[in-house]
Amino acid sequence: MTRDRYSRFRKFHQAKWDEELIFELSVPGERGVLPPLAEPEIENEVGDGVSVLGNLKRKKAPALPEVNQMRVNRHYLRLSQETLGTDVTIDISQGTCTMKYSPKVQEHLVARDPNLICVHPLQDPNTMQGLLYIYYQVEKFLREISGLDYFSFQPGGGAHAVYSNASIIRAYHQSRGDTKRDEMITTMFSHPCDAATPNTAGFKVITLMPDENGFPPLDAFKAALSERTAGIMITNPEDTGIYNPRIKEYVDAAHAVGALCSYDQANANAFLGIARAKEAGFDMCHFNLHKTFSAPHGCMGPALGAQGVKKELKKFLPVPRVEFDGSRYYLDYNAPESIGKVKQFLGNSAIVVRTYMWIMQLGNEGLKEAAKISVLNNNYMMKKIKEIPGVVMYYDFGIGKNRLEQVRWSWEKLKEDTGFGTDDVNQRISDFGIQHYWTSHHPWIVPEPFTPEPCESYNKDDLDEWIGALQEISRECYEEPETIKGAPHSGPVHRVKHPAINEEQLIAVTWRQYKKRKNIE
């Protein structure tokens, strides 16, 4: 059986195992693995080892399940099969996330090479020269890609890097005694972390709303600036995929009042070798190496937000930094004005290694090709999606304005016509063997939103299959409403009754809590 000859659809059904919870598999006495024990000579020498604990010896063993090894392995393999990872689906649905292919040669190396997985972060730097060389090289690569001067690989994700940049903005003003600057400006279509992280770092956050162009007008932006502005933290293009062509004027205006400008480039896929933070005047930026630079997302991490700054801000970066003295690489902790640390040790080194390998395979031309093809793919999809009944493009202007790597669409018309909105379409799409799409960050400014991002990894046939599924779902909404109402039909589970759990008596985030709620012994 292959895909339907005419429609190109699959008769897909995701694995559905009705798999028990791990606790329900417990058989008293079963063992999953036997850890090493102390040799008899050691026991002779020190005894049972635990009597010294006295009252602190655990009195009641933790109620972990007792499950044999084959069953544990099978349990988790089944759960993996009930997960639509990018490796098994066309995952162009999750705009802003850049779900690109993570090359297997990189994955195999970082998962298996003892010179990475068996390295302790506190080893003498002389015994980590290979890894430190790679850190040093990747910093040089990102310098070229961003135009900024120095990078830290410590933050453990994109939001973490934005937080670390907010910390540097704080340290910069504090170092100058300019402590009245307690406001940070962002835009509503910038990622939520551009508002949340400065708040965590102690700033009041001003969020500017878009006008009919999709971004805040320059006048409104200038009106928000003052001697209290510490910095701006924004994306461009924003979530909508719209690029603000006057960004440099915004940055210049912020600089004019003494603020720093931080560019959220979590997703920089359209920009590699095409446009840089430097030319737009930014003081700092960050790249998600687990998005743009091919490292996988791992069910939400481990991840890495590489944080870049101009040379004037180098002294505030987290410690340690990898430096080179002409003959050897070393870890430099000597930075008295540093913000300190945002993560333990050297950050997620395996992601730095993946980035190194990916850039080394593409080079200058290949990176530009990745950017350009991601934009081509998106504009190809854009033309086709525009023709789907029920779809509305916001900020279209009727002038054929294109987008770069992603588009925020709306099912507003579909909702008006059929009563089905974006959540209904989303429930149905995984029946086609496709990961359901990302709607929008909150709040939904664009009604009934969805945000695909094809990046460069998928071929034309993949794009056509995805677009075809959307076309078919639109047709079903208009012509076969019953098909939509019951969706998903082919997933690992049926529709969840209450996906938003807000009442205390319904909250069960662990087995212990679940048993309490259900009065299970």
Partner: protein
Amino acid sequence: MQRKGQIVYPYIPNSVPETKQAMMKEIGISDIMELYEREIPAELRFKEDMQLPEPIYDEYTIKRHTEKILAKNKNCKDYLCFLGAGCAPHFVPAVCDEINGRGEFLTAYVGESIADHGKWQALWEYCSLMAELCAMDVLSIPMYDGAQAAASSIRMANRINGRTKALIPEKMSPEILMVIRNYVNSMPAPDIELVTIKCDSMGRIDINDLQSKCSQDVCAVYIENPAYLGTIETRSQEIGTLAKEAGAEYIVYTDPISLGIIEAPANYGATITCGDFHSLGIHLHAGGGQGGFIAAPDDMKYIAEFKDLMFGITETIVEGEYGFGEVLYDRTSYGARDKANEFTGTSTGLWAITAGVYLALMGPKGMEEVGTTIMQKAQYAARKIGQIQGIEIKTNPPFFKEFVVNFDHTNKTVGEINQALLNYKIFGGNDLSCEFPDLGQSALYCVTEIHSQEDIDQLCYALQGIVTC
């Protein structure tokens, strides 16, 4: 042979010239740069080439190239490693690697439970298994690392009771302290004051000093147990009582691999338990295998203050079928932006699933055995090392996994000794002489279940040789 013509990149399928042409024709352009030119003004475009190395196109060569670079590292497979300080070498069951290597888990992201049901269940089970270990009811999905968990725990306490002073031990993990210091900083100045509690030289809390500082403005009493220097805080119950009497939260940072044999902090009064689950089935990864957790009681005053996503088990439209949903989503910054309690984001999901697999494999008996083995081997190692002339073990029992070895009477620095140990293919303990100068030339040695008696004896042999030469 040279590759001729335009390169078709294996990871960029539409770089095939004919495909590219067809797609450009479809959208009415003749050059992809036209799409950029309409959007990005010329002065903002970068028109030069990035100065990057010549690419290595083929898969075989890039692998060999990278392996050759990494081969300049020494590793803990070829060397005996006695380094810990928050990242200790432990036994990693093969099933852990099997599961975290699955492409579906490796490459999944934020899919909802209708398509990613397995991911939601695996992460919910991680929370559940950790909850049993911690004897606490509530966990969120994981955090960046233990340091983040510690820092966020203190902020939670501050929000819970509105107080602004946190008591922390004088001797604690310097790495964690650095993260906390930055995390409580604010504009214009830190909004939580960190006040240190006096400790003995090995990090046990001075109860009298704690008592004198446990005032009504304290939001939390934070301790590490086992402490950074390996000592087990035997007066942890008394510390909890003092915190409770002051109306403060009692935060205990712990090593989860110890909890099969050491009492769960909740059972001696902790109201918030936090730590790093790296010890549960994850390789060293040069420090990239860390993952943080916070556990708290089943009480809305705690639940509402978690900063990260929480997955709740619920029902689907089919009776008896488990489904999963988001708990209090508007609490997080995904839902509330700057109105959220802190920020959240991508953290360490794959490692959390791995820690869950580890606990499922180990069960209660396995956790008891591994904890006992670590206690025995660490005590054996301390005893044997302490018998070498000129070397003194500073840590008194009970301790877990780590202990302080002092070399003051050897006329050698820790740096010199560690350098000499490399000749024996041994990574000696973490040098404490910079972190805690009052301990003189001391090192923090870490011994776990993976160290055999032969390994420990080999270390002693090497140290003996080094200090007597």
